[in-house]
Amino acid sequence: MNFDLTEERQMLQDTLRRFLADRYATAERNAIIDSDAGFSSDIWAQLAELGVLGALFTEADGGFGGAGFDITTVFEELGRAGVVEPVLDTAVLGGGLIAALGNDAQKSLVEEVIGGGVHLAFAHGEPASRYDLTRVETTAKADGDDIVLNGRKAVVANAEAAGQLIVSARESGAVDDADGISLFLVPADSSGLSQRGYPMLGGGRAAEVTLDDVRLPASARLGTAGDAFPAIAERVAAANVALAAETLGAMETAVELTREYLMTRKQFGRPIGTFQALAHRFSDLLIELEQARSAVINAAGHLGDADRDRQIAAARNLIGRVGRLVAEESIQMHGGIGMTQEYELAHIAKRIVMNDHRLGDTDYHMERFIELSAA
């Protein structure tokens, strides 16, 4: 066993941490959140240049990483700075799905993703699917040589910026079957595709996407008809590792801000950290943070093996629980300051908690863990 980062990952971590410390301070980040686009193309271009996007893809796909620990290295740093740029949506999910299922022509998009030249969105969840990955009501019907999509997709992160949406649709099977789901590359300007975009509380933007007789050539399909689910499950697993790591990074910031505040804020003539009622709770945060770090390592280390889904369910459940504790306790121990928009903790706490609404919440992952442990 070895718990150290490789030299390459260590370098990536240092570079990314330095870049974000320089360029992504609270005021700049909050301005990005409030902007119309909800992210900065300038920051995006530089993330590409620093190799952050390439680190999320294997060499075979044109990158130089792509393993669980590459994902955690990148996302922990993104989380630490509260980054809202859509790395998860464009690279891990979008680019990752094309890399997994695409033919050579389609895979040229992966190169563009790595270079920072294109945005993608994974349009999978639906108004009634909640966190169920197999529940797909959107339909894909053959019509001559074409395929026609109909349905609605809910809370599609990064949809407005995406040049292409990767849309899941059912070609056969019952509404919650894993079999029968296909993925299609749908240009954002396709006729019949409409979006209602909006900001999200944790930063970034998403959209409700309506597909009303969207007509595509059969060449828009990624992989073979009805067989997309294993690739979806694999990419969602990778995205869950990313979310867990991002939340871990954000928690580290929350705890560090709390540590500094407890040492500097004085009430009753002494630093509030000297009150044991707070000191012990701060210690609990540190203890839980170590647990969270280990859970992320477990999940990342098993991303490629048979225990993958159970490890990921465990990590996301644990991080969900610890995340709520860290966000709430950090705010509480700050008093009023912790409630203010312009203080760094505000966005960080929102990011931590709102991550628990993506790709399954604490309860969903608890259920998954029980199911998979019984099997």
Binding site: A154, Y198, Q267, L278, G335, T340, E367
Partner: protein, 396 residues
């Protein structure tokens, strides 16, 4: 022991319900249900409606136009208002300042200010906290120096709730810097239109503007606006704080909130079944509901012990701690129930100026979860309340 409501109490509940049915504007209730915030005008209008019915001041004695309701009546009223999505009554004039004036103010102050609180002429805010004086309130520095027939006030208050709407602020100010902290504080009423008063917004983490900084730069305040005696303000302030804690358990809000969570959990589908049938979520709901059932009784037990208008002692601290834990737990459940639709945040939709994204009950839940973290911070944080409980029970 008898846990049932008397026929009079049942009739009272029906009265309240009928009144709310008839008088609470539908549009306003709908806006609040969706997580909107009442405008100043809507808030004032609601106060006027309550005042017309004689129900604006539940704890005031009748001679000043109050209701003199007992604990059970107050509980019934709060519960019905919460279920009907009525705006909360702004407490600063009605349930904070007024009891202080009645007990310590002059007859002139009572005769002048109390009617203006009831009829909405004055909107009050609370100027206690300062940047350096939060939990350690007695360390406050805002200085008032007597010069002839007025005081000159310099300093800063912060976290002033709805100060942007207020025209008067009651302040704790330091009138004697040379004695023990608690003994040099006075209670001053300040007209916010006086030159030298400046209000600046503080935006909270959910994007709302509900608190402010208030700056005082050589503000002249007539000596008539001193409440009680100079340097006795700390006594009055503590008296006020116990009143601030009377509805602190917020049982009515919790009951309405929990009912809302259940409604959502019936509408949301998880794994092909209603969320309310999901064993994990059902267990979460059950746990809070059991706590709340006990809390409702704890609340009634404690507040019925105290006579009308009187505030309970250390038990108020217990109510605050447990009551806010329960309320915050319900906020947490509500955001969970919304699933992925907790993420969109279209603030204009909450105020009715845009369509909601997803189910119309979901748009404000995550924001509200964050906003209500304040419950365990303000009015004496839960840590300070626990300190009080321990101190009272163990001395020291």
């Amino acid at each position: 022991m008898d846990l049932s409501y008397s026929p009079e109490e049942i009739a009272f509940r029906e009265d309240v319900r009928a009144f709310l049915n008839e008088k609470l504007p539908d549009e306003l209730a709908e806006k609040l249900r969706r997580g909107g915030h009442p405008s100043k005008e809507e808030q004032e209008n609601w106060h006027a409606i309550l005042n017309e019915r004689g129900w604006l001041a539940p704890n005031w004695p009748k001679e000043y136009g109050g209701c003199e309701w007992n604990a059970v009546q107050r509980h019934i009223f709060e519960e019905e208002c919460a279920f009907a999505n009525a705006p909360r009554v702004v407490p600063f004039g009605l349930s904070m300042l007024a009891p202080v004036l009645m007990k310590f103010g002059s007859k002139e102050q009572c005769d002048h200010f109390l009617p203006r609180i009831l009829d909405g002429t004055n909107w009050w805010c609370q100027g206690y906290s300062e940047p350096g004086a939060g939990s350690d309130l007695a360390s406050l520095k805002t200085r008032a120096v007597r010069e002839g027939d007025h005081y000159v006030v310099n300093g800063q208050k912060t976290w002033t709730t709805l100060g942007q709407h207020a025209d008067w602020i009651f302040c704790l100010v330091r009138t004697d810097p040379d004695v023990k902290q608690q003994e040099g504080i006075s209670f001053l009423l300040i007209d916010m239109n006086t030159p030298g008063v400046e209000v600046r917004p503080i935006i909270l983490l959910d994007g709302t503007h509900e608190v402010n900084e208030v700056f005082f730069d050589n503000v002249k305040v007539p000596v008539e606006n001193l409440v009680g005696e100079e340097n006795k303000g700390w006594t009055y302030a503590k008296y006020l704080l116990t009143h601030e804690r009377t509805n602190i358990a917020g049982v009515g809000f919790s009951q309405a909130g929990l009912a809302g969570v259940k409604r959502m959990a019936r509408a949301e589908v998880s794994g092909g079944r209603p969320l309310i049938e999901n064993p994990h979520f059902a267990a979460r709901i059950a746990r809070v509901e059991m706590d709340l059932m006990a809390m409702a009784t704890t609340n009634l037990r404690i507040i019925s012990k105290a006579a009308v208008g009187q505030a309970p002692g250390v038990e108020a601290s217990m109510l605050k701690v447990k009551g806010t834990i329960i309320r915050q737990e319900i906020n947490d459940l509500a955001r969970r129930a919304a699933g992925p639709y907790a993420m969109p945040f279209v603030s204009e939709a909450l105020e009715g100026d845009n369509d909601p994204v997803g189910p119309d009950y979901a748009g404000h839940l995550a924001a509200e979860y964050f906003n209500y973290r304040k419950l365990s911070i303000f009015g004496g944080s839960n840590e300070i309340q626990r300190g009080i409980i321990a101190k009272v029970k163990m001395g020291g």
